[in-house]
Amino acid sequence: MEIVTEQRGAVTVISIVGSVDGMTAAALVGSFRAQVTGGNVLIVGDFAGVEYTSSAGLRALLETVKETRQQGGDLRLAGVQPEVLRVLELSGFTHILKLFPDIESAVASFPA
């Protein structure tokens, strides 16, 4: 899994390529947490390059969503691929996460 972080104004975009699963979730949580600890709580997870997520991936997402929201921010997902979307739907995550078709619309969804 590759993780690239980019700042777009007040919003931090974390682009992930690969699978978010039991082997990689800890690294992703680490990246998210580093941002939250640094005060960057408006986060877009760019999932356009994520081909798969397992239960460990879901736990990583939930942990980050909780941490960002506790500090007045949010984790929003962009470009979720069909395979991952089915897992998010099956687990009810589409009810608690905000999903956007691309990075631009996800970034724009945060108040300027």
């Binding site: 699963d21 082997m23 239960s55 687990s91």
Partner: protein, 288 residues
């Protein structure tokens, strides 16, 4: 490398969980093909509703071809062709015909006969792979897990589709379809100590047209069970450390309750969906 199902100390325990989904559950045979081809063993199998039939066949050691042939003989449209007239009359004249908990619109003699022809007197204890089949207690709503006893009884209870087949009495309890308590019983595998849970389950289809009381009832049942599937699945994913790998076959065509002619296609899609998970499954087994 520690391979699941090896039984070696420290090796991960791999569970296969097959949820409800009638004919779509045949996709489990596609999953079985892939696991066997990759040499990945199974430490336990859990089955519910339609998935209970495939779970039992796999656990008893049938290969894909024989399991497919057996289910095509077992599951045909004729199963619902004979009405249970007493039950139907009891809906309109409950006192006269004695409406009670044994309500079911279809005469279940044929399904019983076919289950007996398929599984005979075999028991869950005889399965080569530890087998757990689930049903639901009609009176309490509790999940009931069969770990022993006749396979026919466990499957008959697990597929007691509400309104269609009457609840099935086992050991003094009236049991209905396993999907009523948990359409994809991952929790059973967690409880039995599985580390890696490969699961396959399907949402109940929604009715295209509501033109009969039965379709109305089915629609309500689908709404409830699909929401139950999602909430339970979310809970299992978040509340436990076990890694859960959902195998989600995609069907371009709508698969109806008795579309057994589509079983080869269903198996193919199951195989395709399972193949997508192999690299990760391999990594998990290697890293455990």
């Amino acid at each position: 490398m520690n391979v699941g199902g090896s039984g070696e100390k420290g090796a991960p325990r791999v569970a296969v969980v097959l949820g409800s989904g009638s004919v779509k559950c045949a996709a489990a045979l596609g999953l079985l093909k892939v696991l066997r081809r990759e040499g990945i063993g199974i430490d336990m199998i859990v089955g519910c509703s339609g998935g209970s039939i495939y779970a039992a066949l796999i656990a008893l050691g049938h290969d894909v071809d024989s399991a497919e042939a057996m289910t095509r003989r077992l599951w045909t449209k004729e199963l619902t062709s004979r009405r249970n007239h007493k039950s139907l009359f009891s809906v309109f004249l409950p006192r006269l015909f004695g409406f009670d908990e044994s309500f079911g619109m279809v005469d279940d003699a044929l399904i019983l006969q076919r289950l007996r022809a398929t599984f005979g007197g075999r028991t869950l204890e005889e399965a080569r792979i530890p087998l757990y089949l689930t049903a639901t207690d009609f009176h309490t709503g509790e999940q009931v897990v069969f770990e022993s006893g006749p396979i026919v009884d466990a499957i008959r209870a697990s597929i007691a589709i509400p309104y269609i087949f009457r609840p099935w009495p086992v050991n003094g309890r009236m049991l209905v379809d396993g999907f009523m308590s948990d359409p994809m019983p991952v929790g059973v595998a967690i409880r039995q100590g599985a580390n890696i849970i490969v699961t396959m389950g399907f949402e109940s289809p929604y009715q295209h047209k509501i033109n009969s009381p039965l379709r109305f009832a089915f629609q309500l049942s689908s709404i409830t069970s699909n929401n139950l599937l999602k909430s339970n699945y979310a809970f299992y994913n978040l509340a436990h450390h076990a890694e859960i790998l959902p195998i989600l076959p995609e069907f371009k065509d709508r698969i109806h309750l008795f579309d057994t002619d589509k079983i080869p296609y269903v198996i193919e899609e199951g195989e395709r969906a399972a193949e997508r998970q192999v690299p990760y499954l391999r990594r998990l087994l290697a890293g455990a």
